[in-house]
């Protein structure tokens, strides 16, 4: 089992002929993901790598292939238009990899997605992978193996680091989700915690947070109230100065709010085992499986 994506995922790639889109489409296909279509306006009728049909619009792609998921690799200034188009075309899950999406664009698209009942993951995220079944996005497949741990993270390479530690210790994963480093994102920690709680194959959850905002604090309260499975957590940014954007648009301490200390305290109060170093994930998860 897994969350959000599995063997039934039928994926359409928005921006399939772009530099990033084409590179990662090959990787996703090699991993075994069912990539059923691509969209690039003006290239409808062509085929990607002689196999995947390309359409001019999402509406055509979904009508012709029955795709249920889309992934977006278009430049940031077009990304929200692509999200609107995907949701309008009827896919139920949209994964937006693009980094640098203006936050006001996100405030326009979020109410639309809620009305349509569409889940967005990202933007500015590495996507997700259900090892052995499917990957949507850019997480390297070779560092993951199937197993009992569900992982959710606001970061990219830090996620890889922790997954790699788990895999080296032969602890596999149900699904690893990178929810993205922006201030407004489609899927938050709580959405993923709920899904992992409901997934019978997931036996333990790893949650990788960072400075900025209150998502981790809200997630900690949710863990305390609703999550019956063991949770291990990490917060990046203990040495970050206030008022500075630490790479991710959302990783900023505003005034005295959103600090690592405040988030770690919230985790501890909720009974979440807190890693002091990324490598601690192995011992903490092992002890709870």
């Amino acid at each position: 089992m897994s969350i959000f994506i599995n063997n039934d995922t039928k994926l359409v790639v928005q921006g399939i002929t772009g530099r990033d889109g084409s590179f990662h489409t090959k990787q996703m296909i090699a991993y075994g993901t069912k990539v059923v279509a691509g969209v690039t306006p003006g290239k409808g009728g062509q085929k990607f790598e002689n196999t995947v049909p390309i359409f001019n619009t999402m509406a055509e792609a979904v009508a012709a292939t029955g795709a249920n998921t889309s992934v977006i690799y278009v430049p940031a200034r077009f990304a929200v238009d692509a999200v609107f188009e995907a949701a309008d075309a009827g896919v139920k899950l949209v994964v937006c990899i693009s980094e640098g999406v203006p936050v006001l664009d996100m405030t326009r698209v979020m109410p639309f997605l809620k009305e349509k009942g569409v889940r967005l993951i990202g933007p500015n995220c590495p996507g997700l992978i259900s090892p052995g079944q499917a990957k949507v996005g850019i997480i390297p497949g070779q560092i993951c193996i199937p197993g009992p741990v569900g992982l959710v993270s606001r970061s990219g390479t830090l996620t890889y680091e922790v997954v790699y530690q788990l895999t080296r210790a032969k602890i596999g994963q149900t699904t690893c989700v990178g929810i993205g480093g922006d201030p407004i994102i489609g899927t938050n920690f709580i959405d993923c915690l709920q899904a992992f709680q409901d997934d019978p194959a997931t036996k333990a959850i790893v949650m990788m947070g960072e400075i900025g905002g209150t998502d981790e604090q809200n997630a900690a309260a949710f863990v305390k109230a609703k999550v019956k499975k063991p949770v291990v957590g990490f917060i990046a940014g203990q040495t970050a100065p206030p008022g500075r954007r630490m790479g991710h648009a959302g990783a900023i301490i505003s005034g005295s709010s959103g600090t690592a200390a405040e988030k770690i305290a919230a985790f501890e109060a909720a009974g979440i085992a807190v890693m002091k170093r990324p490598m601690d994930v192995v011992e903490l998860v092992k002890a709870r499986l």
Binding site: R77, P102, L104, P140, G181, M246, A249
Partner: protein, 383 residues
């Protein structure tokens, strides 16, 4: 990106909000001439720096005559406020004030929408009002698809004033502020104080706008307002090379791919008793040139006693990073030891490239951080 007060005032004026006249001066003589042109007698001289608490730092002063304006300006232009040199002052008429209010709009993470805020307790730091008297702040969520509607603006304005003539003026300003916020691609726009004059006019005295960096590509007119002189030169150089760099005070220079991993690396340096010298994210598809630029920036910091590379190859190829390190050491001498950790995509190739020039690479993040801390403690003497 932060705008200066004079830039924010100009954007609000163009949006139709009543803003008193004002001029920017960079010398005492210019300040005197500006005060003469304003011609209202008393003027206020305000430091234009990206730092809060200007008033407390002596950066805001009144002047009765143009000569006094020149004198005051010369003092303010000699100031350094929170590490930032004052290069410009704003000269504006000293307003007569009946009452002061606060109005602002932010992008709110929790509700995922713009939120308007108003408070009759204006003129002071709004975070302080929020902490001490939260009942004096009124908030309203705005549906970004429709903008701030008339009745919503009126409802907010009635929290500020009882006289309907003032309420109507404030409601109009609120709607114009919201539009200016969207047009600038801002994440924050505020007027503090919004004042009532003895003639019963509602006027914006001070303005603050913070622009979302992700908007700048499609808003060249806003990007053109960037004041490079008010930023750290290393951070400007990093931005030009498409890197994110933030200088700190420690001695372990960090070069990492990915923001989360970069923060975790700095934290681990601290965990092992060291102090990180910087945050530096070389980003995703790193070409060797970016690595050269990163090394130039980090080695320019005289506090740095050791440099730590922490690369987890995904999209980033380890061999690109290795080639960048080799290219950099050929272009200039790196005087401090470099500790390299890399793993993932093309790791073997990278190890060979580095060994070819007598450098070693580690694969374990934890061990590499410990080593870099240890080397820095020895003053970077021996690797």
């Amino acid at each position: 990106m932060n705008l200066h007060e004079y830039q924010a005032r100009e954007l609000l004026r163009r949006a139709g909000i009543p803003v008193p006249p004002g001029e920017v001066a960079t010398t005492p003589a210019e300040a005197k001439a500006a005060a003469e042109r304003i011609g209202t007698g008393k003027v206020v001289v305000k430091a234009q720096v990206h730092a809060g608490g200007r008033g407390k730092a002596g950066g805001v002063k009144l002047a009765d005559t143009p000569e006094q304006a020149a004198d005051v300006a010369s003092k303010i232009l000699a100031l350094t406020i929170k590490g930032l040199r004052v290069e410009k002052v704003l000269i504006a008429p000293a307003a007569q004030i009946v009452s002061e209010a606060y109005i602002g709009v932010i992008v709110d993470r929790a509700s995922q929408s713009p939120v308007m805020m108003v408070s009759p307790a204006g003129g002071i730091d709004i975070e302080e009002v929020a902490a001490k008297t939260p009942e004096k702040i009124f908030r309203m969520r705005v549906d970004a698809r429709y903008g701030l509607l008339s009745h919503q603006a009126m409802e907010l304005a009635f929290h500020l004033y009882t006289d309907v003539a003032l309420v109507r003026q404030a409601a109009d300003i609120l709607q114009k502020l919201y539009r200016a916020f969207v047009d600038a691609g801002a994440s924050l726009a505020e007027i503090n104080p919004l004042v009532v004059t003895p003639k019963n006019e509602v006027v914006a005295l001070d303005a603050k706008i913070v622009v979302d960096d992700n908007e700048l590509e499609r808003k060249p007119a806003i990007e053109a307002l960037r004041d490079v002189s008010s930023e750290n030169p290393s951070e400007v150089k990093a931005r030009d090379a498409n890197l994110t760099y933030i200088k700190l005070d420690g001695n372990v220079g960090c070069i990492v791919n990915g923001a989360g991993l970069a923060m975790a690396t700095m934290d681990l340096v601290k965990y092992y008793g060291g102090e990180p010298a910087n945050f530096l994210d070389i980003g995703g598809s790193s070409n060797p040139d970016k690595v050269v630029a990163a090394l130039q920036i980090v080695t320019a910091d005289p506090n740095v006693k050791a440099i730590l590379f922490n690369i987890f190859g995904g999209i980033t190829r380890c061999d690109d990073v290795a080639n960048g390190i080799v290219a950099a050491t050929k272009q200039f001498t790196v005087k401090v030891p470099i500790v390299i950790r890399l793993t993932g995509t093309n790791e073997q190739e990278a190890v060979r490239i580095l060994e070819g020039v007598g450098m070693k690479a580690m694969t374990d993040m934890d061990l590499a951080v410990q080593k870099a801390v240890e080397v820095a403690k020895k003053g970077g003497a021996a690797a």
